[in-house]
Symmetry: C2
DNA sequence: CTTCCTGCAAAGGGTTTGCACGCCT
DNA sequence: AGGCGTGCAAACCCTTTGCAGGAAG
């Protein structure tokens, strides 16, 4: 019962829903790419390897379902695409995202460190904080090394593609 | 030269661009609604009062332009719409957004408090932080008072709809 | 058989782009 | 003239929805 797949099956069963082959495929893709922040389309493409008849709509519906179950995190980095990542059982809402403005990669930062901020907010405004999203935009170690304007290296992952525009322009979202 | 409008005109002039009547109208709307996080459509509707022939495309192009000039902040709270707010000259990237899951209102929190976090990130990961976006999801003082399930008050904005679900489930975006 | 699920295709909503015309220098 | 800027409409992209057929309990 430490198996995430069984866990999801149980959660679903409890509300008369099933872990269909399609759903299991999607779940497996998410598990195989933990910490990778796939888009729905990327999940779809990966999943089609195992389930060629799978449709996009099912992927979206499944990701939605999983999100409601708390099995995945949906993360919107401010470009027009949502990204999804598997969310280990019992994980708090810790861990923030570092988005490289140069190569688009998304790194993670595990420590929370936000409690002082949340406490200050609650105390000073009366707003009850339930969850948070912290995005840090900047340069990842690699791009920092290469210099902000160097042409992209063939070195790193395919590059998750975060919208482009001229580097130097301000990062879409902001606090 | 403290007038933001002149400031923008200058900035534009420097790159052979002009502060046209349309652009000025958009700018005025943003100024009149400082701290209000309007959507492009809301800007458009407001602006049409002063410039009935204005087109949506111009609004988008202008907001884009202003964003590149650093005159406005684009903020994406995780639902499918971008929101824009005037960004006072010389303002750092401080100030965070508190998004009420009940009524959809967006409040602001002026103090930064993120420096310890950013320093920790830079030190531990080598990632160079340039800007950030902190969204706190929860209940605003009003909704908190009314109770999480009270029918919406006539008091607040139409409610921008932030994903619903049982409060307690994680809100769409997350860090 | 009833309910849950699926794929397909169409619809949706926000945002962007192509194009021809207008405006300012 | 020569750009820059604009309105309009069409195009785009991601995501959602309607619907008829299937599978599971």
């Amino acid at each position: 019962m430490h198996d995430p797949i069984d866990h999801v099956r149980d959660r679903l069963g409890r509300q008369d829903q099933r872990l269909t082959p399609q759903r299991e495929t999607v779940l497996r893709v998410l598990l195989e790419h933990a910490n990778e922040h796939l888009t729905a389309e990327e999940v779809y493409l990966e999943a089609r390897g195992a389930a060629p008849d799978l449709g996009m709509a099912t992927v979206y519906r499944t990701l939605d379902l999983f999100e409601r179950l708390g099995v995945v995190h949906r993360l919107d980095a401010g470009q027009g695409v949502a990204r999804y990542e598997f969310r280990p059982e019992g994980e708090g809402h810790y861990h923030h995202h570092l988005i490289c403005l140069e190569c688009g990669r998304i790194l993670e930062f595990e420590r929370d460190l936000l409690e002082p901020v949340e406490r200050a907010v609650e105390k000073e405004t009366g707003f009850l904080v339930i969850d948070h999203s912290l995005l840090l935009f900047g340069l990842c170690p690699d791009c920092r090394r290469t210099g902000p304007d160097a042409p992209s290296q063939g070195a790193s992952p395919p590059r998750p593609d975060v919208g482009e525009r001229d580097p130097g322009a301000s990062p879409g979202a902001s606090s």
